[in-house]
């Protein structure tokens, strides 16, 4: 490659909002359900039915807009996007083209070269479509309108990203923010967050943007990274061969790690957008904006600072814990119960993370209660269980959310603090291991570790290692 190229990336991110009901009718948004059971005349496009805007959708969109430093459109409108497809019962989608609810925002990400702001062009609200199911057996297609009318926001970034890493960082930042707002669970694999990547390349140093392509069907961060790498190389190869990049929409096949043309610009439909006459203009007052602002939660950055200051957590712990709203909430609940924030943090950063990784789980999938972790911490603090036993009990808590107090009692795992009993066992160990005793006496400090281990083994782990150590030293 003779020339140096720069990759320019902009994202269109669709986020399914976590409202109870659909954007324009009172039907449930719950996932699953027998086909066409969460439907009514409105979301199945029955003649004569009319849309009514769900206030919660507006509030979530505003909250996301405020969190991403957008300006909120005080006088907004909905528009109809006209196209024929059976998953779209009216054959138009109610969306926002001319006056979207949020504009001109940005999200800050950390890059190797320092902080960088990814601009947000706009955020608009729209409705999701139904689902087509092809019945191979009967050779016909069926439509399920349960998803039809589920609220979405589309977050359109500026073409400010330059690498796959920046894209991932931007997406993770967005996802974290939206999860903190409770506006969506943002699961890429389940489709509640979907990202389309607009990518072009240009020679380093040139001002003008190259011809871009739009990449669809990206279901994980890994797929996004792979698709970006692949598309970047494809475009550079074309340019190097003296060919042109064609403006088109491409579909990524992650299994085969390649993309193919879905439709070219020539096939682009004319959506004949026009203002939706069935909805009145959306007027947003200053008071309403302030209300949403007041309700904004503490975001990760603020939380991180507070954890460091209030609980004295190290940077690393604070960062990891605040990355997930769920984990942060869990941490605070447990810390409040046991008043030992650092201990809670240790359990989360250590054993919890280890088990999550081992079980291939996300923090959001944690099933045990903060109360049981708090109890375990109390047990260790009062010396009722030693650290080895505690780890064993924790795994039980992690998997089954058992009550550690009763579990320790039932299983007889309480540490033996009876010095007389312990002294007897230690004496026995000294007697049985003359070699180690001799080593220790000859200055091999490490030999005591072996003797401690032997004692613990004899005690079936129920002794306090510190006490054992002390007794050994005394008796030797």
């Amino acid at each position: 490659m003779s020339k140096e190229y720069e990759t320019v990336i902009g994202l269109e991110v669709h986020v399914e909002l976590a409202t109870k009901t659909k954007i324009f009718c009172g039907c449930s948004t719950a996932f699953g359900g027998a086909p066409n059971t969460h439907t009514c005349p409105v979301c199945t496009g029955m003649p004569g039915s009319l849309p009514v805007l769900n206030k919660q959708v507006v509030e979530y969109a505003m909250a996301v807009g405020l969190a991403t430093n957008c300006s909120i459109t005080r006088y907004g409108k909905f528009d109809r996007k006209n196209y024929f497809y059976p998953d779209n019962p009216q054959n138009y989608q109610i969306s926002q083209l001319y006056l979207p609810i949020c504009r001109d925002g940005g999200v800050e990400i950390e890059t190797s070269a320092g902080k960088k702001t990814i601009g947000i062009h706009e955020i608009h609200m729209e409705e999701d479509a139904g689902k087509l199911v092809h019945d191979e057996w009967e050779d016909c297609s069926l439509v399920d309108y349960n998803r039809s009318g589920v609220p979405l926001i589309e977050i359109v970034s500026e073409p400010d990203m330059r690498s796959a890493q920046e894209v991932i960082d931007y997406l993770e930042k967005l996802r974290m923010m939206i999860q903190y707002l409770g506006a969506s669970d943002c699961k890429l694999n389940e489709g509640s967050m979907r990202a389309d990547v607009n990518l072009s390349v240009r020679e380093m140093g040139t001002e003008q943007l190259g011809t871009r392509t739009e990449m669809k069907n990206l279901n994980s961060f890994k797929a996004i990274a792979r698709a970006i790498e692949n598309e970047k190389n494809r475009q550079i190869d074309l340019l190097e061969e003296g060919k042109k990049v064609i403006q088109e929409t491409r579909r990524w096949d992650d299994a085969k790690e390649y993309s193919y043309t879905m439709r070219s610009k020539e096939d682009a439909q004319d959506y004949r957008y026009f203002p939706e006459p069935d909805l009145v203009p959306l007027v947003i007052s200053d008071a309403w904006i302030s209300e949403i602002k007041e309700r904004q939660p503490e975001f990760a950055t603020e939380k991180m600072a507070r954890y460091k200051q209030e609980y004295g957590l190290p940077d690393y712990d604070a960062e990891i814990i605040t990355e997930s709203k769920f984990l942060a909430d869990f941490f605070e609940a447990a810390a409040k119960l046991c008043q030992k924030p650092k201990k809670v943090s240790n359990w989360l950063m250590g054993e919890t993370m280890r088990l999550l990784k081992e079980r291939e789980m996300e923090p959001e999938e944690i099933r045990f209660s903060p109360a049981n972790l708090a109890k375990l911490i109390a047990l260790t603090e009062e010396g009722s269980v030693n650290s080895t036993v505690a780890k064993e009990v924790f795994e039980k808590i992690f998997d089954e959310d058992i009550d550690p107090e009763s579990y320790v009692k039932e299983q007889g795992l309480k540490t033996v603090n009876d010095e007389g009993e312990l002294r007897g066992v230690v004496k026995q160990v000294i007697q049985d291991n003359p070699k180690s005793v001799e080593d220790y006496r000859n200055g091999k400090e490490k030999a005591i570790g072996f003797l401690v281990g032997q004692t613990m083994k004899a005690m079936k782990g129920k002794a306090d290692p510190g006490m054992v150590n002390q007794l050994l030293k005394e008796l030797l």
Binding site: G45, P47, F84, P86, V143, R272, F274, D278, L279
Partner: protein, 514 residues
């Protein structure tokens, strides 16, 4: 009391007789059904007649009246509903082949409101396909004839509703008005029709033509009935975002007030070229009558009138092109029998399901919304709409009511209009601006032309001023002779006479009834 005598009652008079136990609901229904049996083959007001259902409803309503649960001014009165309003379990076609088999799963809010007021639904009335037309000739299920002269159209698009009232096949009806579709056929059929302020009657369940212009309104024998029906039909409906919360829907309270001191303006633009002489003199005579009752009448320049029709057709067709997209053969309605693949199915179902006028308007609407044309047509039309509203605002700063004709002519002969759609569109000149500005308008009969066809007087009010136009229309009504269509009084012999004259002419219209 004879069936004929029952039929002569207005809706409010009938309800009073029913309340007094002089007439049963069943008898009222039978009176209407008898007339339907006698004249419907000639008039064809209805697409669907709900004979058994009406008798069943009559029993239920009678029980509620007897128990005192229902006592309003319309309790027990048989009515007809334009076939573009959804009625649960009852065929709703919009007079289109594409909805030829469509049975809704819910009832339109306006119809529910009437049912709560004790209406008995007799059936669904014929109309121009999807309300697109001015003659009811674009119906896929045959034309409707004018009860005053069977060789003439009843007007449109609510031609079936207006003809049914004029022929006494029902006591009142609901129509819908997007560009004059209640007021013009009411004028042509010699009945009273009112288009309310946009947002007064819920559009939920009204199959949309031009969403920003559509309004449901009453078609009735007189102003009193009109006011009573509107009062019952109007409601704030959360299911319709464009529905208005009004505290002043006691429209009947405006009845009986005189017009002393009321300021009435006649736009000179409404009396100019293209207006038939008989219509002009009848309208001016009506103005004189109101003046005689103490109103102050003067002519003024409304301006922008010539822009109303292009603006209207651009906006209405643009919205229609999108509103009618849902009729695609996928979910309900007509699907072509043979096709290869999805797009072919769409194309064939829509090509076979829609009539020529609907296709014309879908194409026109798709064109004006296309990229590159949107600004030049659609946006410009929206700006024109805003200017027209301003012109009316200025006029209403001066006048309480604007008076003019409802249409430039009386009802044209059958078969004369569709060949020149542009000329047909120009016939909407006096009605479309009212929809563009969202205003209320009422048509009351004001005499007959030389051919014996009814002429309609249109009174237009400012937004929310239905009461003023009802007041003026009522006052005018007191001074005129109530005229009834010949077929209402003497159906059988009128039809026989007309058929004879048709045979003499060689039955040239036979194919239209096929």
């Amino acid at each position: 009391m004879s069936m004929k005598e029952i039929r002569r009652f207005t809706a409010v008079q009938l309800a009073e007789r029913i309340k007094q136990r002089e007439i049963s609901v069943k008898e009222a229904v039978q009176a209407a059904l008898e007339q339907i049996n006698e004249v419907e083959t000639a008039i064809h007001s209805y697409v669907t007649i709900e004979e058994e259902g009406a008798m069943r409803q009559a029993e239920e309503v009678q029980k509620k009246i007897d128990s005192g649960e229902l006592s309003g001014p319309l309790a027990g009165v048989p009515a007809a509903i334009k076939d573009n309003m959804c009625t649960e379990g009852l065929l709703t076609t919009c007079s289109s082949r594409i909805l030829g088999n469509f049975v809704p799963t819910y009832t339109a809010e306006a119809v529910l409101n009437l049912q709560k007021a004790g209406a008995v639904i007799l059936g669904k009335t014929n109309m121009d396909e999807f309300a697109m037309g001015s003659t009811t000739e674009t119906s896929a299920f045959g034309i409707t004839r004018n009860p005053w002269n069977l060789s003439h159209v009843p007007g449109g698009s609510s031609g079936g509703s207006c003809a049914a009232v004029a022929a006494q096949e029902c006591f009142y009806a609901l129509g819908s008005d997007t560009g004059g579709s209640i007021r013009q056929p009411s004028a042509f059929c010699g009945v009273t029709g009112l288009k309310p302020t946009y947002g007064t009657v819920s559009r939920y369940g009204l199959i949309a033509y031009g969403s920003s212009l559509d309004q449901i309104g009453p078609v009735a024998k007189d102003v009193t009935d009109c006011a009573a029906v509107l009062e019952a039909a109007a409601s704030y409906d959360k299911k319709d975002s464009t529905s208005l919360k009004r505290q002043d829907t006691d429209f009947t309270s405006a009845l009986g007030k005189d017009v002393k001191g009321m300021k009435i303006g006649i736009p000179r633009d409404y009396l100019g070229e293209g207006l038939e002489e008989d219509v002009r003199s009848a309208v001016l005579l009506a103005a004189k009558t109101l003046e005689g009752q103490g109103a102050m009448v003067e002519e003024f320049d409304l301006s922008l009138v010539e822009y109303a029709i292009p603006a209207y057709y651009v906006i209405a067709c643009a919205e229609a092109s999108s509103n009618l997209a849902r009729f695609d053969g996928v979910k309900y309605g007509y699907r072509s029998k043979e096709y290869e693949g999805l797009h072919h199915m769409y194309k064939k179902s829509r090509s076979e399901g829609f009539g020529p006028e609907v296709k014309r308007r879908i194409m026109l609407g798709s064109f004006v919304l296309s990229s590159g044309y949107y600004d030049a047509y659609y946006l410009k039309a929206l700006r024109t709409k805003a200017l027209i509203k301003q012109a009316f605002d200025q006029a209403f700063a001066e006048y309480d009511v604007i008076l003019g004709p409802a249409a430039p002519s009386t009802a044209p002969e059958i078969g004369k209009s569709l060949s020149d759609p542009l000329k047909m569109y120009l016939g909407d000149i006096y009605t479309v601006s009212v929809n563009l500005a969202g205003l209320p308008g009422i048509t009351v009969p004001c005499g007959l032309d030389k051919k014996g066809l009814p002429i309609g007087l249109q009174l237009i009010g400012d937004c929310f001023q239905e009461k003023k136009i009802i007041q003026a229309a009522y006052a005018f009504e007191q001074a005129r002779k109530m005229e009834v269509s010949p077929i209402a009084e003497d159906g059988a012999s009128v039809i026989a006479g007309w058929e004879k004259s048709q045979t003499a002419e060689g039955g040239k219209e036979q194919e239209e009834r096929a």
